[in-house]
């Protein structure tokens, strides 16, 4: 009788023991600064920089990649439980998670290091103010975190509207005059539609994109005070202004402004659509410049601010640090870690990172020769605000009901009034907790 399986078994065991013998535990240098990160596309650049740093200073630095970000977060949480956090890592998630990390004593306060004089200036001055702000907890912040700056930004990003100039010209519209107000936006959209040209696309399937756009408009229409009052529970979502925000999305749906399928599109699919000129407008982050450059270098487009709902206030958009590193409070190599991050965020390294990873650097001095379109995204940071710096935050479950509800409006399942009532109900429950 043939005993193939038996043979395979035995052979495999032999192989197994042979190979297992080769397993050597890599000895870990006690003085090595270890960094955990999730940015798979920057891993090569990080490793190169680590090598250079060792050559320059003799200090060993080791970057460990754990991607995708979901698994990275799990590993960090596992490390918290087992007291095995590395010297440097990044905190992903909402502002409240960051606060929780700090309050549990896992993240070092870097304020002092940032303010310490360095080559005549302070470390702090090298960064875009708005990029640092994301990692800062101010006096009286809603989480009760001790005021200070707790993270160091590596890059900045902003989320804006963009439009395809080529398609604009085709529609007979002025390719250098994107819509400034909601009325203009709708009028241009109607013209595009009449000419059979595509409309507006965005990664609304990833609901944070919807959240960003709706939040931009809400801030513009009712001003931050009223928005924050809503978050605090003092103004209900059934307020006229909120219904008006919801109604904007209904109007877009009714007029067929959106590209078919936008409501469930993941952002990468939306980017494909815009890059291949199947959409005239998009709402996307500054990283898209590189995505489009890769897919369609001839794409002729420009950025603009989301159309104003109210002329009473300026339009503010989301922006700030793209990704940041923090230092482990209990790390025995804290000083070495700070020294390395100082080096990593200094001009030369930031330029290298920006060039090799195609991100906007967080270091002001490193932004010298960037493309005009990229500078449109980075250039004017005055309009930029990040939800992390808000004095109040909406509860995640309310935000979800809000964003998912807008999806329902976009597919014509709910009216703005119905949604407002529904979100308010979820809000009521969240307030009771």
């Amino acid at each position: 009788m043939n005993n193939t399986f038996k043979k395979i078994f035995i052979k495999s065991f032999v192989l197994l023991f042979f190979l297992a013998g080769c397993v050597g535990q890599s000895g870990r240098n006690a003085e090595t600064v270890t960094i955990w990160h999730w940015m798979s596309d920057r891993d090569d650049a990080f490793n190169e920089l680590a090598k250079r740093y060792t050559e320059e200073t003799g200090v060993n630095v080791k970057f460990d990649l754990y991607a995708p970000s979901e698994i990275y977060s799990q590993r960090v949480k596992g490390a918290i439980q087992t007291n095995t956090l590395p010297d440097i890592f990044g905190v992903l998630g909402e502002n409240q998670d960051f606060a929780s990390f700090i309050q549990s004593g896992y993240v070092a306060d870097l304020t002092e290091a940032l303010n310490a004089p360095m080559d005549g200036a302070t470390w702090k001055e090298a960064f875009f103010e708005k990029a640092l702000a994301v990692n800062e907890f101010k006096e009286g912040n809603p989480h009760g975190v001790k005021p200070g700056i707790y993270g160091l930004p590596l890059d900045v990003s902003t989320i804006r509207m963009i439009y395809n100039k080529n398609l604009y010209a085709k529609a007979g519209l002025d390719p250098n005059a994107p819509p400034k107000t909601w009325e203009e936006f709708m009028e241009h959209s109607r013209i595009l539609k009449a000419k059979g040209l595509p409309g507006f696309v965005s990664g609304f399937g990833e609901i944070w994109m919807l959240d960003a756009l709706a939040s931009n408009w809400a801030m513009n229409l009712m001003g931050p005070e009223k928005v924050f009052a809503t978050y605090e529970g003092k103004v209900p979502y059934t307020d006229r202004d909120w219904i008006k925000i919801f109604a904007l999305f209904k109007e877009m749906a009714d007029e067929g402004v959106l590209v078919d399928g936008t409501v469930t599109m993941v952002n990468k699919a939306a980017e494909q659509t815009f890059a291949n000129e199947r959409a005239t407008y998009a709402f996307n982050g500054s990283w898209c410049v590189n995505v489009y450059k890769g897919m369609n270098p001839d794409l002729d487009y420009a950025a603009f601010l989301p159309p104003l709902i109210s002329k009473a206030r300026p339009m503010k958009i989301w922006g700030g640090a793209g990704s940041s590193f923090v230092i482990h409070e209990a790390s025995p190599r804290k000083e070495a870690a700070i020294a390395f991050l100082k080096w990593l965020t200094s001009d030369a390294q930031q330029v290298y990172l920006a060039e090799s990873t195609l991100n906007l650097p967080a270091n002001k001095n490193a932004v010298k020769e960037i493309s005009p379109i990229l500078s449109q995204f980075a250039g004017n940071m005055d309009h930029v605000v990040h939800p992390n710096v808000y004095p109040v935050h909406e509860k995640p479950e309310v935000r979800e009901a809000f964003d998912k509800g807008i999806q329902s409006i976009l597919i014509g399942e709910k009216t703005p009034e119905e949604l407002a009532a529904e979100v308010q109900k979820v809000k009521g429950k969240a307030l009771k907790r």
Partner: protein, 286 residues
């Protein structure tokens, strides 16, 4: 019966027609299965600019160098042996441990047999969301973080419920007569299992091996949780470099995927030969 059984032409025609429709159906299903693989292959020969634009069946100027680039950029050479080792280790572990347990659950009598089997199967059912963090804590306690063993053991354990369930189903259906006669000849439990039951269960073992190989070969989440040393990482780690948070290098990623899929297909091709009508023939010979 309406049809005249002597009408050979009619019978033949009927058979031919049935066969024709069966093949049309099979080919249609096959096309739907082949299409994505072709698409991945064709895309792997395009550039980032043409990948979603050029929808031709085969790109006019195929960029074969993408395969070289993918192989070197993803550092596949380094990860390939690791993956091979993990796959062999987990497959051998699962086949051996699951077949022993399944044989016991199917043939041997002991207290708590049914309840143990039920508990084993129900581990497949609770999709423990927090289990990754718990697993990390556990492996850390056992000093298995960043070791090969720490990556292999949880995967063996993960394959066991399916393996035991699958093999028990097939053991239950096997004729018992052969084992009985072997036992009368004085064979011990283990020899009966090893010499009689295992060879008879060959198709089921092949099926299990096919499933486990695919699972281990494509695994990367656990690797990212358990391992940090690049020298220990499996093949899928290589594909990570093509998928940034914002930019995906589609042609290189597709080339990488084609490279990683091929070994699985070859192994499947070899193993599926064991899914054959060998039972009765083998029994007679054995």
């Amino acid at each position: 019966m309406m049809a005249d059984s002597t009408d050979i032409n009619y019978e033949k025609l009927k058979k031919r027609t049935t066969s024709f429709f069966i093949h049309v159906f099979l080919i249609l299903v096959s096309l739907s299965c082949l299409f994505p693989l072709w698409w991945a292959f064709a895309s792997s020969l395009k550039t980032q600019q043409t990948v979603f634009k050029d929808l031709s069946f085969f790109p006019q100027t195929p960029h074969w160098e993408n395969y070289y680039l993918a192989w070197t950029k993803a550092d596949f050479g380094r990860y390939f042996l690791n993956s091979l080792f993990y796959t062999v280790a987990v497959v051998v572990g699962v086949l051996f441990i699951a077949s022993m347990a399944a044989y016991a659950f199917s043939r041997l009598k002991f207290k708590g047999r049914n309840i143990l089997f039920l508990i084993c199967i129900s581990t497949m059912m609770i999709p423990i969301p927090g289990s990754f963090i718990a697993l990390y804590v556990l492996l850390n306690k056992l000093h298995l973080i960043d070791t090969r063993l720490g990556y292999i053991l949880p995967q063996i354990n993960g394959g066991l419920p399916l393996g035991i369930f699958l093999l028990k189903t097939f053991f239950d259906d096997l004729p018992k007569e052969l084992e009985d006669s072997a036992r009368i000849d004085g064979c011990g439990r283990f020899r009966v299992y090893w010499h009689i039951a295992l060879p008879l269960a060959r198709p089921a073992l092949a099926v299990l091996a096919i499933f486990v190989i695919l699972a281990v070969w494509n695994e990367y989440l656990l690797a990212m949780l358990v391992l940090s040393d690049k020298g220990l990482m499996p093949l899928q780690r290589g594909l990570m470099v093509f998928q940034g948070a914002h930019i995906t290098q589609y042609p290189l990623l597709m080339a990488g995927i084609v490279i990683t899929v091929l070994p699985v297909l070859v192994i499947y091709l070899m193993l599926q030969k064991h899914i054959i009508k060998g039972i009765t023939a083998g029994a007679v010979k054995g």
